[in-house]
């Protein structure tokens, strides 16, 4: 009986040592997992108005080579209160973060957003160009 107890205790001790010595998964400053992925692009873009309805007249044109997002919005869109939504490749994140409505009214100086890859080593800055529908 004692033999068994000793054997089990030894086994558990070994297992404990092995597990505790294993390195933790690396996380970044936001507590998000840093992975091995190097892809870094925007896959979809949406723009919502103050009433949370889309203001796009058509799908946004995302150029991952030129790193631009061209979006055409309805005539009369209130550009000062828009909610952008980015869909990114797996594990990537956006900088700056979107926390609420943003002011896109300065058309001459379009807003820029940086996509950071899963391994947090590649950064690509996208420019969001807005064009308003004209009569």
């Amino acid at each position: 009986m004692l033999k068994y107890i000793k054997a089990i205790a030894a086994l558990m001790l070994t297992a404990g040592i092995l597990i505790s010595c294993k390195e933790d998964f690396p996380v970044d400053e936001d507590g998000l997992l840093i992975t091995a992925r190097t892809q870094c692009y925007v896959s979809n873009f949406e723009l919502l108005g103050a009433d949370f309805q889309t203001v796009r007249t058509e799908n946004a044109i995302i150029d991952t080579t030129a790193q631009t997002i061209n979006v055409k919005v309805f005539y009369g869109t209130d550009l000062k209160n828009l909610f952008p939504q980015f869909s990114l490749v797996t594990d990537a994140k956006l900088d700056p973060k979107i926390t609420g409505a943003m002011d896109f009214s300065d058309l001459a100086n379009p807003k820029k957003f940086t996509v950071v890859s899963g391994n947090r080593k590649i950064r690509k800055t996208y420019t969001v160009n807005i064009a308003v529908q004209q009569p």
């Binding site: 103050a50 009433d51 949370f52 005539y75 009369g76 000062k80 209160n81 409505a101 009569p135």
Partner: protein, 330 residues
């Protein structure tokens, strides 16, 4: 070791046995004994904020054993006298097999006497449920109102039941204003009214929004509510003399207030919504409005905030039907 094991087992058996016994015990059913007295009960039937002009509805039930007598009268006393339309139903309803409410007249129509509303029974009745509709008077705005329901029986017994207090909202409401492009297009939040082009100059200082409908190629304009200052969004509109106020306008979708829309959605705008609304960066126009959409509005002087709901639109006649809830800020 072995003895202890048995002891433990025995104990466990006893516990299980006891638990088994208790679960098998049957609760005896007893027919409820009828209370030998006049009894009553009240439920409130309306939900949401209490807005002046609307009803607060209650159902007041009362009953007495037939051997003791019959009902003589039912009365409701409100702490603030209701508006003229306040009444206590003189019919007791039951629901038939098809789900319809069938009323049986039990007395004369109710009479309002100051804060009291009374129904006197004319038929021999021992049980009835009467509905009470308290039409909220504008004098009750911002105050609290309580109700005392009471009933009397022929044997001299009387019972009463208190309800409330209920807070009456500060806001005002107006339903189904017709607006029409260029003719009946000038909306005043202060007056909660729509003015025609001819009447607009006389009320110019109170006009906050202009309604218009445009069908312009290549863009979506459609139905719009635009402050007179937003000239870009008033194409082809010649404003009447003196109409030059600004306003903050914020488009809203999916906010179909129950009072304004009268649809199936249980959403209510209350005073608090107006108080906490942040319209600092709102523009002075809203175009491309659809039916069941709405806009939050703040007048130029910040005195009023309102929610303008679009009940329906008609592209052909360039018109719309709107309803407004308004809150006075200062």
């Amino acid at each position: 070791m072995k003895i202890m094991k048995y002891k433990f087992m025995r104990y466990l058996m006893v516990v299980i046995g006891l638990a088994g016994l208790s679960s098998c015990e049957e609760e005896k059913y007893a027919v409820p004994v009828l209370k030998q007295e006049l009894q009553n009960d009240v439920i409130k039937r309306t939900l949401g904020p209490n807005v002046a002009g609307l009803n607060i509805e209650f159902a007041y039930a009362m009953a007495i054993p037939a051997s003791l007598g019959k009902l003589v009268s039912a009365e409701v006393e409100a702490s603030i006298a209701g508006a003229e339309a306040t009444y206590l139903e003189n019919k007791s309803y039951y629901t038939n097999g098809s789900g319809n409410d069938i009323g049986i007249e039990i007395g004369k129509k109710s009479e309002n006497n100051g804060t009291k509303t009374t129904v006197t029974f004319t038929r021999d009745t021992t049980a009835a449920t009467l509905r009470y509709y308290y039409n909220i008077p504008s004098t009750a705005k911002g105050k609290e109102v309580t109700f005392k329901f009471s009933a009397k029986a022929s044997n001299g017994q009387s019972v009463s039941y208190s309800m409330g207090p209920y807070k009456i909202a500060q806001m005002d409401m107006v339903l189904d204003l017709d607006v029409k492009d260029s003719t009946n297009a000038y909306i005043s939040i202060e007056d909660m009214a729509v003015y025609s082009a001819a009447n607009a100059p006389a009320n110019a200082a109170k006009i906050d929004l202009v309604y218009l409908y445009r069908s312009i190629p290549n863009i979506t304009f459609a139905h719009a509510l635009v402050a007179p200052t937003a000239k870009t969004y008033l194409p082809g509109v010649t404003l009447p003399a003196g109409v030059n106020r600004s306003a903050k306008v914020q488009k809203v979708w999916n906010l179909r207030d129950f009072h304004l829309a009268r649809l199936q959605y249980g959403i209510f705008i209350d005073d608090l919504d107006f108080q906490e609304l942040n319209m600092a960066s709102a523009p002075d126009y809203a175009i491309n409005l659809k039916a069941e959409a709405g806009v939050w509005v703040e007048t130029q002087d910040g005195k009023y905030r309102a929610y303008v709901y679009v009940n329906s639109v008609n592209n052909g006649s360039k018109s719309a039907k709107i309803s407004i809830k308004r809150y006075t800020m200062k």
